[in-house]
């Protein structure tokens, strides 16, 4: 599949390089430099900072110190700058031998660009890797045409005490009660309760074994969330805790708004939106690259015409594939209404009622 392709290509290139250690040192030095000049509030996950796009010695055989200095005299520091110029022009203006310029260009294009995949292969992969995860509630499953789809990000928004965490726990319970599936729960507001989760599991299941299929992480700010998502990604790529991660089907992030609010609204609007962009990107790429269903919860704020709208702004509305609104049902204590606000795959604005009981699963 796509990510395997990428990893294999990288391995191939790594084998051909002779001074890998020096390359690692260079990258480390640059990252230390970068972290020292930018203030901690604006640090981004390393794979998104663009440090990988700097031309460095050892990137490929033809890019030695001499050539690198020649390129620097003409202000060509980044791979993007190099690739945008014709190799003949580069050779003419910087004195780098034409053969070397062509070789470096080929190398960059082979290593740094994304591979196009033909539609039929893409389709086959999608069919094989997409599973539908039941939410545990028949009514919501009907709304979502089967349930949560892997490869998609679903967002549940609702007011305070609307039942978002309850719904997340219900979905987690329905995932882990099957032994071929595991789940990761990232809790930002210490609202996870193993006891409540146990109440939602069928009474016949072996409790300890079932609960071992969910891993709980606590995050107190957005950098914790980034670290956790990054470590999940690393685990998924390398076969360390293979038993758990090869069966991972669900990732829950409850509640996104509580880690975003501390920095949103501060002075640097562009930087804050950039962080939101990185977070959205990490969630989407985890869902798509590893066929996981990502479930996030969000708060609501008063929107246009008095209707509740999801918080975190306009940019965040482009991150999810499906958005559900959990609202009160006319003041009744235990009942809630689930409305579909946005659906990439089907109809919007339909709603169903859900009942939250004190013990036992939701209905």
């Amino acid at each position: 599949m796509f990510s395997q392709f990428f990893v294999a290509r990288r391995k191939m290139q790594f084998g051909a390089r002779n001074n890998v250690q020096q390359l690692r040192n260079d990258i480390q030095k640059f990252e230390i430099f970068l972290s020292s000049v930018t203030s901690p509030l604006y640090q981004f996950p390393p794979n998104l900072t663009g440090t990988m796009s700097i031309l460095q010695i050892g990137l490929c055989a033809s890019l030695d110190e001499v050539n690198l200095d020649r390129l620097k005299t003409k202000n060509i520091y980044k791979t993007t700058d190099f690739v945008s110029k014709d190799p003949e022009e580069i050779s003419h203006s910087t004195g780098v031998p034409y053969k070397d310029a062509v070789a470096i260009r080929k190398f960059i294009l082979a290593q740094k660009s994304a591979l196009p995949v033909k539609g039929n292969i893409f389709y086959k992969n999608a069919v094989e890797s997409t599973t539908i995860i039941s939410t545990g509630l028949n009514s919501v499953d009907k709304l979502l045409d089967g349930g949560l789809y892997t490869g998609e990000v679903t967002e549940i928004c609702g007011g305070i005490a609307a039942g978002k965490t309850q719904l997340c726990l219900n979905v987690s319970a329905s995932v882990i009660k099957q032994d071929c599936q595991t789940a990761v729960f990232i809790d930002t507001g210490t609202s996870f309760s193993a006891r409540r989760l146990a109440q939602m599991l069928p009474s016949t299941s072996k409790l300890e074994e079932t609960l071992a299929r969910i891993h709980l992480y606590t995050a107190y700010d957005i950098y914790d969330v980034f670290n956790i998502l990054e470590s999940v990604r690393v685990h998924l790529k390398t076969p360390s805790d293979k038993d758990f991660y090869s069966r991972l089907r669900l990732l829950v992030l409850d509640n996104v708004a509580s880690v975003v609010y501390p920095f949103l609204g501060g002075g640097a609007f562009a930087e804050n939106q950039g962080l939101l962009c990185s977070l959205g990107h990490m969630l989407k790429s985890l869902a798509v690259d590893f066929s996981i269903a990502v479930l996030i919860t969000n708060n609501t704020v008063g929107g246009e015409r008095g209707m509740p709208a999801a918080s975190l702004g306009r940019f965040w509305s482009s991150v999810h594939h499906v958005r559900l609104l959990l609202g009160d049902k006319d003041g009744t204590e235990a009942e809630r209404t689930v409305t579909v606000l946005k659906n990439c795959r089907g109809e919007t604005r339909c709603s169903m009622d859900v009942c939250i009981l004190t013990d036992g699963p939701l209905q």
Partner: protein, 308 residues
């Protein structure tokens, strides 16, 4: 210095590619012509990606199959997905519905079984290339490497990018305070696209999400006396069909991109009175639309213009 090119590049440049004019005539008229760059602008959830999927279906289906007139163009499409939102399952379902619809329209007593249609759809999917980019640097480098793909396949006549504004905030925050640094990657993207579109006579569609919103024209008045919001002005009165949608467009991209775009389509959610029913949400497409603003719906069969 003369520009060198290989024989393959020469043929790829001068050879003819399948034309895509005539698709969706109500929107494009006789276009889209070669070297057209069409920007599709709209807020979240207004149907931009749906519209692109609809266009893909029209392009990759052939003109006819088993003597059924399908009305496609048989052209190959490169789809660059920066938002990780492209759903191939949805595309296949749209194609199936289109084929079945044309079959029913034909009226002939054809009994094609599901496996034949499946094989046919997989053949059509070979005309689609999907590329996923995760950063603006990767986008620039990918566009340069796509030149090789375009050279080798003389059937490619359409490039779609969904969306071109996906990395806007990331680039802005990484660029710091200097605007040239923020826009550097976007400028290089536009350069690469210009080269591809002009050298190989392609058509480019790009979606752009509404990052900034112009101040809304409707006002919600709060009546202090009774403590009630005065809803009479909002939404219901605004008739999107007669509105000039160009006014809703707020530009935020760099100047090279603005010069590059030849046409702009604007999509909005229709806030007319019937819009609040479940499943009945209508949208309006306007801007450089040939027949003026038109209403459309997104049904199970995809994008569909609604006649008044």
């Amino acid at each position: 210095m003369a520009n060198k090119e290989t024989g393959l590049q020469f043929l790829a440049r001068l050879g003819t590619r399948p034309h895509v004019s005539g698709i969706e005539a109500d929107v494009f008229g006789s276009g889209p012509q070669c070297k057209d760059v069409i920007e599709i602008y709209g807020e979240e959830g207004t149907g931009k990606s749906e519209f692109l999927s609809h266009l893909i279906v029209q392009c990759i289906l052939p003109e006819a199959w088993s003597s059924i007139d399908l009305g496609g163009r048989g052209a190959s499409v490169i789809f660059i997905d920066t938002e990780y939102k492209f759903s191939i399952l949805r595309l296949v379902s749209l194609m199936e519905k289109q084929v079945l619809q044309k079959l029913a329209d034909c009226g002939k007593e054809f009994r094609l079984d599901a496996s034949q249609i499946e094989v046919f759809i997989e053949e059509c999917l070979e005309r689609l290339y999907i590329v996923r980019c995760s950063s603006s640097e990767e986008l620039v480098i990918t566009l340069h490497s796509l030149e090789g793909v375009i050279c080798n396949d003389p059937n490619i006549s359409l490039v779609m990018i969904d969306s071109i504004s996906a990395f806007y905030w990331l680039d802005r925050s990484l660029g710091g305070d200097s605007i040239p640094a923020q826009e550097a990657n976007l400028k290089l993207t536009v350069e690469a696209l210009t080269k591809l579109v002009n050298t190989y006579n392609l058509v480019l569609f790009a979606t752009k999400s509404a990052v900034y919103k112009k101040k809304s024209q409707d006002s919600v008045g709060f009546d202090r006396g009774s403590g009630v919001y005065d809803m009479s002005n909002t939404g219901c009165g605004r008739n999107c069909l007669s509105e000039d949608l160009d006014l809703l467009h707020a530009e935020f991209m760099c100047k090279p991109w603005q010069r590059f775009v030849s046409h702009r389509l604007i999509l909005v959610k229709d806030t007319g009175n019937q819009a609040s029913d479940a499943g009945n949400q209508t949208f309006v497409i306007g801007g450089d639309c040939v027949k003026g603003n038109q209403r459309f719906k997104v049904t199970q069969a995809g994008f569909k213009l609604v006649d008044e």
